[in-house]
Symmetry: D2
Subunit: 319 residues, 4 copies
């Protein structure tokens, strides 16, 4: 019997994606008394942003050798994928004119959108709760007002400027795009580090490439129908290394729907609520993948939306 | 006769602010044939963003010696000053829950605002026109659609990462805040450079501190009633040095109302429309002034609003 | 001793407004088992709109003798009074053109507002809850989704066309505007009926004039600081007569702040939640007062906002 | 040869819709000097609303014999058809609570939409222009401000209460829905009047049923792709009879695309701009058609949007 190369490809593909991570399935959020106060004290509202130090900036700066800037943000436009109830509307507003002998005319635009959670986005600490509790066991109901959160607002975070590594799991697996339901394992992350010959430490950012972002804007229905991504096991491994941010080129960082059907966005819960670690969603990692750029200075400037849960951002990786 | 120190202060104050720049008064926008095509060719939509090169990044990176980050963005909140017709409304949107055994709950927010022109903001090339023409003599009416500009949109610019200098004119004059109608002169800028022992070159950013930003949020009516700032003379001097951006801690960069009553926002016209040089408004320059930081890496990440005229930003200066 | 007429006026004024209604002070909402199901059955979502019958229309129609229309709606504009977190923003949106040899051009407008609760407004049955329960003991948490209520939405109500009476309490008391904290009593309503020689029955609308609406747009801060209006005693008297709607020329129909400081908007709770009777707020009753029009056909057309809590309206009284 | 009934149906269908109205093709808007001032004088901002008189109300009132109310408004929901750039977003806003011992809780909603031009809508006099001119030759550019029109705003119109007739052209032709591109002729209208044994006069409203509204919400793409409706010939015939409003169960009243490809929305231009006659779009005329109701009191209450071009409405026909 002769195996054709395509059959071999299918077999190797099946082999590559076969190992299901068992440990994640049984996860439960730690109870409040075991997760609070956070490592930064009972009043802390900034979580892993406390890892943003001058040393982190200097370490990141040393990554900048060529002055090359990679734009990680997607263009904001009505054709973006988004969940059903979210909107993005930009209307041009032309101001009256002409004014003066210079015949000045002005233009601006009104925008109506879920500004904390649209396009390429930074998830802050008021975005998610486990039961009644936000990060550091602040009570959701007590902090949530009509016009924003009275604590944990994204305006408390500030710009993040730290060393980042990009773990290209799609490349590791030899595919353009990981399968829709693939849960990235700890082994995948470890192997990517080895092959890419990079490592990372506390206070740094880890960006995980799935290839799924290629569907963004190209097939929105498919894009939103699910996604490959990390699960609880990989998230715990990242959290144990005290990272500042975890980002991905999908819309929720984590695999969706979650393999354990009784958990809903558990990686959000673990990273944001339990650990105070930020998420970056809908990143464009294609150019870095093409250029095989795996470490860099990552710079993210969330808008200072008072009481906001996050911010649309246009982050850059600089090399 | 003995002059008290306060009388001396008043006299010296009067002396310091007395010289009115004569040349600016007679300014007229150059006719289209003398300003188009721009130095970057007839199809260019990026203006001074073309000065964003790897060399500019590397030069800026060399400013980063301590890893200290200065946040130049104001918090976005309803109490911000803004012109009459602009709005800023953030409403919390709590998604239904709890979901799963992890009792996940989610929060987000809807925001309605003039997102290109609110708070600390980056003015792009579709923001202003002189008569029928935008930058590079693109026609405003031909490009303006209901949902944004078909050319010159801010999504074309990308992040800006360049060396910046801050010229602290309020400090130079020995005041906390420059008088409301003071037009900053070329001489002021030159003297500030000398005293601060910095210089700047093509493709860099110049931030001009007036102290006026202290009124932001403290006395909005006063803040919006006028402002000290550069005039056409200083803007021409800056443009001649081919800068990438000019920013200030006031709401329009330029002195308002303009001394020549028949000109309306002429510095906007000169820098954005004629020269393709970007503006940064409502910067917070107080911390840098206190620390006497006069050169730094400036990093600005405009949101990629397709067809937008600008973007609310949260820029940083890194030292 | 000679009393001047102004002293007499003050004394008589004090006398007129002196009687505090005692019974209202002790009110508590009836427990669910005593108020549910409503008189229209356990599945009813329309409350007093069930009183809208052909007979009600015909009875109202008989009020139309002169064909005179009274506009009861206020103009919607940014200078309207409104509570802090509510917004009203209208931006003109000019569509591109000209099109065709007829050189067609189009204009429209985007509006961002709390459309159910802005200006002259109709309060529907999802607007208020007592503890966990809306009208007919529907659970607020179970019905409230991100994009509206799944039951009790204002789109279920339809137009209301019924006979209305206007009880001019300000005129009864001989004042232009009732004092800010005056609670209108049952006796006031009864006396107004007698003096105005009108009566009303089940399914009809009662509009109560306080004069407070004269502050609308003239002194918004004063207007929103409190208001004269009915209290629980008068509301119970109206509810006992099975009216369809209660309206007023103030912003909440009921006296505010409420005399019993431990009750918050109790008339809303009694009429909307317990009884399913609708409210009409910010009515303009001045022209009817001038013309001494006390009975009429009242026609209200709430917008059919799916899942909405109410609707801005422009009702008319026709005589 | 024997013709089957379906072939006969096709033939008769073809016959019924065959006659193309020749006169409309050559239409040009009358020049300003021939259409201005309007019949209500050079300063008039209300157009056919001037025909709203007590006599019109009384005449309409005489139509109300049974007290039956027909709701002509569609439900406002995100699944409504609408043209590409228009939005409709309703977000529930729960106010904080519980308050007081009555445990008051409040709900409201933010709505972002083109409120003048959404769902069942009333087109006002600032909605359309012919070249530079609105109704009564007011200049579009001079009246259009960022926040609405300084003249001709819909807040000037007030409620309309007049006798209406419904001409059921789909029923006349024996079809459920007229073909997509069918232009309703003067002959059609005249024949419908004859068969329905009704007539109408000055100041009244004419509602034209096409059946096209059955696609609303059922097949939005088809619904918006075109529509049967009146053309210039029928519009001129209606205007000559001095009607107050013309409505239909389609989205633009007039046939779309227009047979004369060089005219764009000419019926809008003729009725709104030249004649000051209002349009009602997206009416629900199905129940009246089923009940064969052809004359009635029509009541429309446009929201008083200051400077607005129209208003979403929920009109009723009362019989």
């Amino acid at each position: 019997m002769k195996l054709t190369s395509s059959v071999l490809a299918v077999l190797s593909f099946a082999f590559v994606f076969m190992a299901a991570p068992a440990r994640a399935q049984g996860w439960n959020p730690p109870p409040p008394e075991r997760r609070c106060p956070s490592q930064w004290g009972p009043n802390d509202e900034r979580g892993a942003a406390n890892l943003q130090t001058p040393q982190a900036v200097l370490k990141a700066t040393r990554m900048i050798r060529e002055g090359k800037v990679y734009e990680l943000g997607k263009v904001l436009e009505p054709s973006m994928p988004r969940s059903g109830a979210r909107s993005y509307v930009l209307n041009l507003a032309r101001t009256s004119g002409p004014n003066g002998r210079n015949q000045q005319r002005g233009n601006e635009e009104t925008v109506f959108t879920e500004l904390g959670q649209m396009g390429t986005q930074f998830d802050g600490l008021a975005h998610q709760a486990l039961g009644p509790h936000l990060y550091n066991c602040f009570e959701n109901d007590a902090l949530a007002t009509r016009t924003g959160f009275t604590k944990l607002g994204v305006e408390k975070i500030g710009a993040l400027f730290t060393r980042g590594v990009m773990l290209d799991i799609a490349a590791l697996k030899g595919v353009d795009i990981l399968p829709a339901t693939y849960e990235i394992t700890v082994g995948d992350l470890e192997e990517a580090l080895r092959r890419q010959r990079v490592d990372f430490g506390a206070g740094e950012a880890v960006l995980v490439r799935t290839g799924w972002g290629r569907h963004f804007g190209a097939d929105n229905k498919l894009f939103m129908s699910g996604e490959p991504g990390i699960g609880i096991a990989a998230a715990e491994w990242l959290a144990a290394r005290n990272v500042m941010m975890v980002g991905s080129d999908n819309w929720a960082v984590e695999v969706r729907p979650y393999p354990d059907k009784d958990l809903f966005l558990p990686v959000h819960g673990l990273l944001l609520v339990v650990k105070g670690i930020f998420l970056l969603e809908n990143l464009d990692l294609e150019a870095m993948s093409r250029d095989k750029i795996h470490e860099f200075a990552l710079i993210v400037q969330p808008l200072k939306l008072k009481g906001g849960t996050g911010s649309t951002v246009a982050p850059i990786a600089v090399r």
